[in-house]
């Protein structure tokens, strides 16, 4: 294993030395073969011709040796890079178009993945998020998921009777208009939520206090919690 690595590293970085050695080695072989033919009585020129013929494509043999040395992949990659750069230089318009097309393609993919990742793959940022479920009611004549919601009295009944859940939370989207003395009113997304909503998810307000069960009483003073973005 170590030997293999050392061998490959030398082949890659001491490339000219290794290539020179390969040339020497193959030339020595050719000379030996020519000498052998000459000793057998063949004219020298014929011996050279015969030997070259028998040897086959010199470059092919060298390529196979390079491959056997295990650096063919690295070398081919380098060659491809050089080839690509030369072509770019020759045809810059095409190069710009290709780079733009690939760039846009990668960009669009990255954008879509970012959204899909947040929406579909990333777990909710709560402890024991695998235990959080969304409860839907069934409605006659309408297939799931289809639910116009539960009434608050229904929710109170559920909460009193359901034993399978640690906590039941109800919420309801109710946009609000906010205004102050200096600017026009603005509409914001808001939500009504049962007092135990944040506690059930293990969340604490950064400032102030969390909702308490007393806040749910009809005569309780209205309380609100602001999101950080506001």
């Amino acid at each position: 294993m170590l030997n293999d690595l050392r061998y490959r590293v030398r082949a890659l970085f001491r490339r000219s030395a290794v290539e020179g050695e390969l040339d020497d080695e193959l030339r020595f072989h050719l000379e030996q073969q020519v000498d052998k033919h000459v000793r057998a009585g063949m004219p020298r020129s014929e011996a050279v011709r015969q030997t070259r013929l028998a040897f086959g494509g010199m470059e092919q043999v060298k390529d196979d040796c390079r491959e056997a040395r295990g650096l063919a992949a690295a070398e081919t990659l380098l060659q491809d890079f050089r080839h690509a750069l030369r072509l770019w230089g020759k045809n810059p318009g095409f190069a710009v178009a290709a780079v733009t097309a690939i760039g846009l393609g990668i960009g669009a993919n990255a954008a879509v993945f970012t959204i899909a990742n947040a929406a579909l793959f990333k777990p909710l940022p709560y402890e024991r998020n695998g235990h959080i479920v969304y409860i839907l009611g069934a409605q006659p004549g309408c297939e799931l998921p289809c639910d116009s919601g539960r009434s608050y009295p229904d929710f109170r009944e559920f909460r009193a009777q359901a034993k399978s859940f640690e906590a039941l939370v109800a919420y309801h989207f109710a946009p609000v208009n906010l205004s102050d003395a200096s600017a026009l009113p603005e509409r914001y997304r808001a939500m009504r939520i049962s007092a135990n909503g944040f506690a059930a998810l293990g969340q604490q307000p950064v400032a102030g206090r969390d909702f308490i069960p007393a806040d749910e009483r009809p005569d309780a003073a209205p309380v609100a919690m602001l999101a950080y973005a506001l």
């Binding site: 030997n3 293999d4 061998y7 490959r8 050695e21 390969l22 020497d24 080695e25 193959l26 020595f28 072989h29 000379e31 030996q32 073969q33 000498d35 052998k36 028998a54 040897f55 086959g56 494509g57 092919q60 043999v61 196979d64 040796c65 491959e67 056997a68 040395r69 295990g70």
Partner: protein
């Protein structure tokens, strides 16, 4: 020159290991030696010999050093390493097993009746 045999895949490595086990050799001498010892039945093509030598060297089964040949030229000599010797023993055993098994099968087929 007698009838030549095509070497099955992988057997060239074995022949090379065996040849250099007899002492350090350069590539040309290895091919000559294999040809002679096999009574010209096996002729090693240079196109496969040198890639095989480089592959074996990379695996650490043979190691190369530069020396001077009988006719006073610079030549690359290959020698068997310790792990090469182990490999040679293992490959030889595997080859003997395989050829014996194949021989056995072929003989059986000849003796048996065709279906």
């Amino acid at each position: 020159m007698g009838e030549r045999i095509e070497l099955p895949q992988g057997t060239l490595d074995l022949l090379i290991l065996k040849t250099v086990a007899l002492g350090p050799q350069h590539g040309w001498a290895i091919s000559e030696r294999i040809q002679q010892v096999s009574s010209n039945a096996v002729q090693v093509q240079q196109g496969s010999l040198y890639p095989a030598l480089h592959r074996l060297e990379r695996r650490g089964w043979i190691k190369a050093h530069w020396g001077v040949s009988e006719n006073h030229r610079k030549a690359k000599y290959y020698d068997l390493t310790r792990s090469g010797r182990k490999q040679l023993a293992a490959d030889t055993q595997a080859w003997r097993k395989l050829s014996a098994a194949i021989g056995q099968v072929l003989d059986t087929v000849q003796e048996g009746k065709p279906c």
